[in-house]
Point group: C2
Chain length 331, copies 2
């Protein structure tokens, strides 16, 4: 598993596409010491502006490339600055498609200085194969009717809620922004397919009986391209509890117009079926809907109607919080 030293200096250079940086700043503000942007860049994360050495002196240990230039590549004109950050004592973490380690200059300098280059999308590790016996501790996994329906956000909100209630809990990250937020994790869709489930086992090790791992879901069982990743993650996670995330405004799978959205009842049935292979007690314990485009009144009516239909607590994590799902899980 990746283990990134923190706190971060967040580097956005001259790009305005800073989704990753925002996710980390929003969920781990205490781990974000400073930002470094080029003078031309209007995007302000609201963090102190610092140089590389200054950030290191202030405690930063890793410079996070928190923005993605169009195309996802690593801009040549960032290389001098990244080298300077390495020289100042910082490791580098990147979620770009281009790997830091594929740049000879960066690789050789990092080796010489003994620094880490973290390419979050890349997994070199191989994963041993256990027997898939049940592990001690409790696990909750977010799953979706589709991709990009709030699985990461819902997991983070539940982890925070559990934590605030004094429950021992870990957020287990499976995607790049989640990994940068947690400082560790496994980018599950970058794992060789033979090892999806084994990687998920390793992601969430045995724990104390009353500890809850909250695991960030990926993909959807109803997505023609990614259902295999989702199923492997479910089997390896062996979740006791599943929280179903959905976007009620969609009629088709996003960007795959040939495929209809499944009904929530169908999602509950299929996810339960799938999860019970490795955890016979698995059940869906709540529903998380993104109601951002609804009026307060319409959102309230939709959440209530969904609760009534499915007999499960139904929340919008931003509009209502996730307390009712936490009640159902912890009580």
């Amino acid at each position: 598993m990746l283990k990134i030293q923190r706190p971060y200096l967040i580097f956005t250079g001259d790009t305005e596409f800073v989704k990753t940086a925002r996710g980390v700043r929003d969920w781990r503000p205490d781990q974000c010491i400073a930002q470094y942007r080029y003078p031309s860049n209007p995007i302000d994360l609201g963090l102190p502006e610092m140089g590389f050495a200054e950030a290191y002196e202030a405690g930063a240990r890793t410079m996070l490339l928190g923005g993605a230039p169009a195309g996802g590549g690593l801009p040549e004109h960032w290389i001098d600055d990244i080298c300077a950050a390495l020289e100042a004592g910082l490791d580098i973490a990147s979620g770009l498609h281009d790997k830091l380690a594929d740049n000879t200059r960066l690789r050789e300098l990092a080796e010489k200085l003994g620094r880490n280059l973290w390419d979050i999308r890349s997994v070199k590790q191989s994963f041993g194969m256990g027997q898939f016996e049940r592990r001690s501790g409790k696990r909750l996994l977010t799953v979706g009717s589709d991709c990009v329906v709030g699985k990461k956000y819902t997991a983070l909100a539940l982890h925070r809620e559990f934590s605030e209630r004094g429950t021992s809990t870990s957020f287990r990250a499976t995607g790049q922004t989640g990994i940068l937020i947690a400082g560790e994790g496994i980018p599950i869709d970058s794992v060789v397919s033979d090892f999806i489930s084994s990687a998920a086992v390793q992601l969430s090790p045995p724990a104390a009986a009353d500890h809850w791992d909250v695991i960030e879901g990926q993909g959807s069982l109803f997505h023609p391209a990614y259902a295999g990743v989702t199923l492997g993650l479910i089997h390896g996670s062996q979740p006791d509890a599943l929280v179903l995330c959905s976007d009620p405004t969609r009629t088709r799978i996003a960007a795959f117009e040939l495929f209809p959205q499944p009904s929530l009842a169908e999602c509950v049935r299929r996810y339960t079926d799938a999860a019970r292979l490795t955890n016979p007690g698995a059940k869906v314990v709540g529903v998380s809907l993104n109601t951002s485009s609804y009026s307060d009144e319409d959102a309230k009516a939709l959440l209530q109607a969904t609760e009534d239909d499915l007999g499960l607590p139904c929340v919008d994590p931003i509009r209502t919080g996730v307390a009712s799902i936490a009640d159902a899980v912890l009580d």
Copy 2:
């Protein structure tokens, strides 16, 4: 997709573990020109013994490492011979865990001579992402109640049967022995998990309306470690027809004793459910059982009882052939 030039010289060196060699010799005897083994090796594939240059003269174009030493590594004492085969004009194909291309001497010599080193377990290719629209042509996929239940064998037998009946057909290989038999294919469990389904799309391209691709299945939806691979392969394959393979003597998943074998009826239900996401007309068209440990009488009774139970033709490809499934598919 890999495209290996044939015919083969089969190299077994000093190993007696020659399962891959046997599979290729049994299914493509016309593509196996000769064998090369060390004098100490008692295993005879029944092929002419030839040296490297002699085999090249006789038409061989690729030397297949057809045996796996204990551990799956590439023995140091084979390297001189592999170099000699490259010098003699042969490409090298290997299904070992150790990659040929990771051996500096082999890599540099192959580059210098312009030869190919085919590491069958390794996939460097990335796979584009289509819209998963239905492709022209027909597809049959073998699926299993477990791993190692005859999915490859059944697919090869059906491909041969279709071919003998004059049906236009291709065998589509997804594992290393299958790839060496077909000369091409994609080792689906070595693909990065994000691309399982897309790789399966690419494996079986659009074809004439009456052409049948017979696709080798992998893993099992009921296997805790590999179900993700299986599901991704199903979705990308978009099979019209599924043939369910099973070993009737097993009560547990092989080597995963915590997990029971599913019933055949449960397999039919779950595989049909899964396949209909990308092909609403998908159906299970037959069952293939390995009855090798049964008497003729008991096997006949079992096959008949299974046909009666499921309402599907049920064969043992070795004992009865696969004609009744071909009848059901082609009529």
